[in-house]
Symmetry: C2
Subunit: 327 residues, 2 copies
Amino acid sequence: MKAKVLVTTSRAKESFRSVSRLAEIYRLDELKEEELDPLLPAVDCIFTLFWPRSLDAVKLSRMKRLRFVQCELAGVNDIPFRHLSESVTVCSNAGAYSVEVGEYSWALLLAAAKRIVAYNSAVRTEDFRRPPSAQLGREVTVLKGGTLGVVGYGGIGRVVETFGEAFGMRVYALTRRRQRGGDVESFRGEAGLLRLLHASDACILALPLSKLTKGMIGTKQLSVMKSDGILVNVGRAEVVDERALYDHLSGNPRFTYATDVWWSRDGAESFSPHLPFLKLENFIGTPHASGPSAYVTGGPPRYAIANLLRYLNGETPENIVDRSEYV
Amino acid sequence: MKAKVLVTTSRAKESFRSVSRLAEIYRLDELKEEELDPLLPAVDCIFTLFWPRSLDAVKLSRMKRLRFVQCELAGVNDIPFRHLSESVTVCSNAGAYSVEVGEYSWALLLAAAKRIVAYNSAVRTEDFRRPPSAQLGREVTVLKGGTLGVVGYGGIGRVVETFGEAFGMRVYALTRRRQRGGDVESFRGEAGLLRLLHASDACILALPLSKLTKGMIGTKQLSVMKSDGILVNVGRAEVVDERALYDHLSGNPRFTYATDVWWSRDGAESFSPHLPFLKLENFIGTPHASGPSAYVTGGPPRYAIANLLRYLNGETPENIVDRSEYV
């Protein structure tokens, strides 16, 4: 008997052609409530992008056969782990967006370092007068010879490492395991994070949001950074403490925070932060466009579906999530 | 008898300590008119940054001993070649700014590709609503797998070539000579330029301004570029025809021109173009900050002074300018 896969995304059916040879596919958006209800106890796998609110604790408790959840996002922070039994394997799509998000993070870093946003605004003001060259020169950060901090040394971290090296930077990475070989210098733990932040001219946050990373960058961490430092976030906003960051940006006008990710409000990413970041010139924000840019090539669904196939074929899937980091 | 060097920049005296062992140094800004006048026929060398208006045709005609001009800028387009005899060797400071200008050009390129400026403005509008992910994904240009055009394969061109390669791009370069070896594919002449522009997803102009390059990018050249292409200019604005560019940007809203260099007016770079570029969203402009960012490290004066020393020591200096390209 074929396994039953409940698909909660609106991806084109053709994307799942390879799956349909091994499993029966049900699409949440095509099922009426009275059809979904009897199906729940028979579902073996869920394939999801953003977790649908309709699949709540009650419904999950009825999915007694559920053993596998494949997420199409790299971050699994919205998967309701506490309503999933420990017998359910959850896989992320880590790595599927690394190139595109890595490129995007470098754009944010350079926009801050070269003051592209501020200067582009300045030249458009009516009475613009170019500051003296010496002043412009001091305002711009040259990357060559500087230190790049990479916080989160997964797929994105490895991509930005290659950019940092091409730009002639020393690369310091916060890693869970000591790295062997390679040019990157690895740091671990709370003390390692502080040393990395202290040394960095620019730092890229590329962390998943979990119990371990939430609020990891707070007042203490920000305070050790250079006063004209650059902090880029392309992971999840909640890794940074919102109030601590706001106070830091207000007090250090030459420090720049450039982000593609935003704090959630009522369960969804909100582009209207509680605090008035959008009034600050040293805050650069983009509307979470990095991940979506990966969809043009079709990479992320392809990777996620390939991983689901591994599971269905009885192989060990990749990117198995350690649920203890989320529950 | 020591050679006499007239210095027209306001660089600190200590910068010229190595020169003063071989030559007598006179600083234009410290000389009264009645002191300069008798000195002119005795000057052997000029060391300059921006050519001073006071050193006009009349004064130059009196500098009968003048044999060498060292410019601290990479571009020598404001040197008055027509008033300099052919016996005067003019050297540029090509290469001295390559890293810093190369980095800056990559910041402009990525700001355009990832729509950092436009998105940062959008999120700050009061009623901002995030476009659907699929739309954001289509608006963002992923560099990996794309083609980078490098027009002007000197110091800056070679720096951006390494960035393009690190980003996984094919690199096409417009060169004067056929390149041997390396990963870059070289193109030559008018037809080669058109082929390069046609193939490029993003193109960086890093050309000096000379008789050969003025207006090189006009209507025809722009028309072969992709409608969502990116053109970055960090050389000299006049390489691009102002009217042709304005019409192209107006007619192709997805095409982006990102520049750090501006058309001159009355002999000086002007940040108020004749045409209303500053009203266009697909124009990104910065106030010629790329070169000045090199001064923080002190590289450019050091390189230029080292070249002056070569001349004074009887060695062949680097970066000898072919005056036929300017007169």
